[in-house]
Symmetry: C2
Subunit: 106 residues, 2 copies
């Protein structure tokens, strides 16, 4: 289930198309998940990738926009972003949005 999302919570939607041979990607992705969870304001993350098409969507949730921006600027994450641009992703985009409402089942 999704975490409880307080008012002002921010969702960062990361959509990417990964190259078929993306050496070092899996290790980095796992390391970044661990590191993200240690950041102030981290509320949760969901990632899904279709290995057939290379398409992935990852949505991370943050207490506020400052938390989301701070994570983007963490040194190890900057290095991951650089490798993503240069080595792993054919394309990507990022959308940052403020949560209005949420519901779930069950």
């Amino acid at each position: 289930m999704i975490p409880d999302l307080p008012p002002g919570a921010v969702a960062v939607v990361f959509h990417s198309v990964r190259h078929p041979a993306a050496e070092g990607y899996a290790e980095m992705a796992e390391a970044m998940d661990v590191l993200a969870a240690q950041q102030p304001g981290f509320l949760g993350i969901r990632s899904v990738r279709d290995e057939q098409t290379g398409q992935g969507i990852s949505v991370s949730y943050w207490l506020d926009d400052d938390s989301a921006r701070s994570w983007k600027a963490v040194a190890e994450h900057l290095e991951a972003q650089r490798r993503g641009r240069e080595e792993w992703y054919a394309e990507y985009d990022v959308i940052v949005a403020e949560v209005i409402r949420a519901y779930s089942r069950p």
Copy 2:
């Protein structure tokens, strides 16, 4: 790439875990993608599912929250939602959020 997202645009993040045997799901998912694209205020949709785990994330973009709400209430979509709850999804959640900023590459 993502569509141009005007100020006030709304992202609807749908995360689901689908049952392995989900009869009729693929046809309905395709029909709903076509129908969504015909709705007023529709800006785009992205969907990724990992067939190994059943996990999926779908993000649709709307001109405003009224457009997103209207789509939720379209009759054929209500029927798809009902079958999703009763037949296809082990769990799901929906988060509606207002776009703050977006960037992409290339």
